[in-house]
Assembly symmetry: C2
Homo-oligomer: 335 residues x 2
């Protein structure tokens, strides 16, 4: 249980805030940052949201007031002089990439608000609840602990987006009755679920949709289908989406889990100088532990690895081999 009163104390006692989140921010990262920013607005605090990555196109609609900035060194002075830096939806310093140095250097008081396992101790105080299915839930509780009237429509939209996206539309683990009660409250404050869903998921372009189709049609199976994986190499990417170097293909990997046989699903995405691997699992198979063996991390059922300077086929073969070994151990432990 998070001590929300303590977070409120920190907010009340200070004036200048920086909010930041992880590389390649997802809906929970962006939604949580914005909801927190709207809260600071109402508390008459000075603040900036500064991220390593720019906001993915499908979440830009949430940031009507253009509160989110992409980091460059011109923000260093602001960050150096801030009273508090709030790290939202991540818990290892490496995830802020280009902001690592300034994050370490600033004398601001640093806190984490997050729901991922095994936080690194690189801040002054950690507010973590690993039972929460989204960081958005924690921001909701924080604002409610102060004054639930502060949850206006724009805040509700941001929080709904955070919770909806991070729970796979309310279907992943850790969904409790309370999550749906919170969502009911957000809708009663004006959020339109159909509108948000369409904005987040239904605005892709035909080329990306066709790439999804081709990727699905080429799905590969190992261990009688217990492992299902997809591959997007540079050639495929250039054929369908030549304009983009790298984009969010997180949604793609979930299709691996739609197979009855599958316990572990993977997407190998060849990036400019290496390979990004997205991992998903069913049951209690811990893809976060698998990811950690390659320097990645995440949750029990959803994790990621980023291997720079390595070749696609090498990565596929070593990750698949490790997965086979882990799966065999998992099945032995079950029986």
């Amino acid at each position: 249980m998070i001590n929300y009163q303590r977070i409120l104390e920190i907010i009340k006692a200070n004036n200048v805030f920086v909010i930041t989140t992880h590389i390649n921010p997802d809906g929970d990262a962006i939604g949580s940052e914005l909801a927190l920013a709207y809260f600071l607005q109402k508390m008459n605090k000075e603040f900036k949201i500064i991220n390593h990555s720019s906001t993915p196109e499908n979440f830009v609609f949430l940031d009507q007031e253009n509160l989110i900035h992409k980091y460059d060194s011109s923000f260093d002075e602001y960050i150096m002089n801030a009273d508090v830096v709030i790290a939202v939806d991540f818990n290892t310093l490496g995830r802020v990439k280009s902001m690592m140095e300034i994050f370490k250097k600033t004398k601001a008081y640093k806190i984490i608000i997050d729901h991922h396992r095994n936080p690194q101790n690189f801040v002054d105080e950690i507010f973590s609840d690993v039972d929460a299915p989204a960081t958005g839930i924690l921001i909701y509780e924080l604002i409610k602990a102060y004054d639930s009237n502060f949850i206006d429509k724009k805040t509700a939209d941001a929080l709904y987006t955070a919770i909806m996206t991070d729970t796979g539309s309310f279907r992943f683990e850790r969904i409790t009755p309370e999550v749906h009660i919170i969502v009911a409250d957000l809708i009663s404050r004006g959020t339109n679920p159909t509108y948000i869903y369409n904005k987040v998921y239904n605005e892709i372009n035909p080329e990306k949709l066709r790439l999804l189709g081709v990727t699905i049609s080429n799905i590969k199976l190992e261990m009688d289908g217990k492992i299902a994986y997809m591959v997007i190499d540079r050639e495929l990417l250039k054929k369908y989406v030549p304009s983009e170097e790298e984009f969010d293909v997180d949604g793609f990997v979930n299709y691996c889990l739609s197979l009855k046989s599958t316990i572990v699903g993977m997407l190998f995405f060849e990036i400019k100088n290496g390979v990004k691997v997205s991992l998903r699992s069913k049951e209690k198979f811990p893809v976060n532990l698998l990811a950690e063996k390659f320097g990645g991390g995440g949750h029990l059922n959803a994790a990621g690895i980023r291997l720079e300077g390595e070749k696609l086929n090498d990565v596929i073969s070593k990750v698949i081999n490790q997965t086979i070994e882990d799966l065999k151990n998992y099945e032995r432990d079950l029986s």
Copy 2:
């Protein structure tokens, strides 16, 4: 607002019940039938669920007690002698197909419990709420109006499945705070959202998944992408899923709507003796009115057509032409 007390009166005053639903039953049809049956069980009533279609494989897990029967003439005597026939999740007689004759013939008291528009008057009493996003909501309210303790885990699972599937995981139109409050209640009674989702959507076989991939990759656009459509002909079906004559491809058509440009999405599925067309739309474009022009029907944003004895290419061209005309009128009315 439905008069639930009146439905309870009918149930209390009678002893032998038949529950039935439409051809190709979806999650809302099967879930609502089962939840209603579990209620009749607790009321110590005699009943049978009798459907024209067999239960789709992905919903069989809900029917642990094998309560659902596929209709044949051996059930005629039971239906003839029943006190009440309850038609669940449909409102036109044609939707019971092979059961039409016996449905007309039986002297049983007939009622409809449903949420579709424009009910046909082929029963004694109609209990309809077109604002409900699923018939499952109505069955929930009915049981709750009698005794909410009757909503045990198996009932909650059936109702959760009904509501989750018919709302596209809580994202289609007509989602209110009350829907999420009901879902919270179902989860508090033991329903596991992850388990249900995996059972319903994540047990497909690799061939069907590859067929989905190929179908998506071949998506076609008309009117600058305002219309997006997919085609599955016999050849494609035989290549990937040779064992099946016809199966539920309802999930496929939703991918058309994932395009930013799309207002209307369609899937043309060549069946043994004709073509099945699934229609979906965004905004207020009424695909039910479009479907009605070809003898089909449905909701504002989701409808279907079944044309027997017609050729695939003829159907594609006449439905697309009609859609272009309807879309032009729709856009003219908007401006």
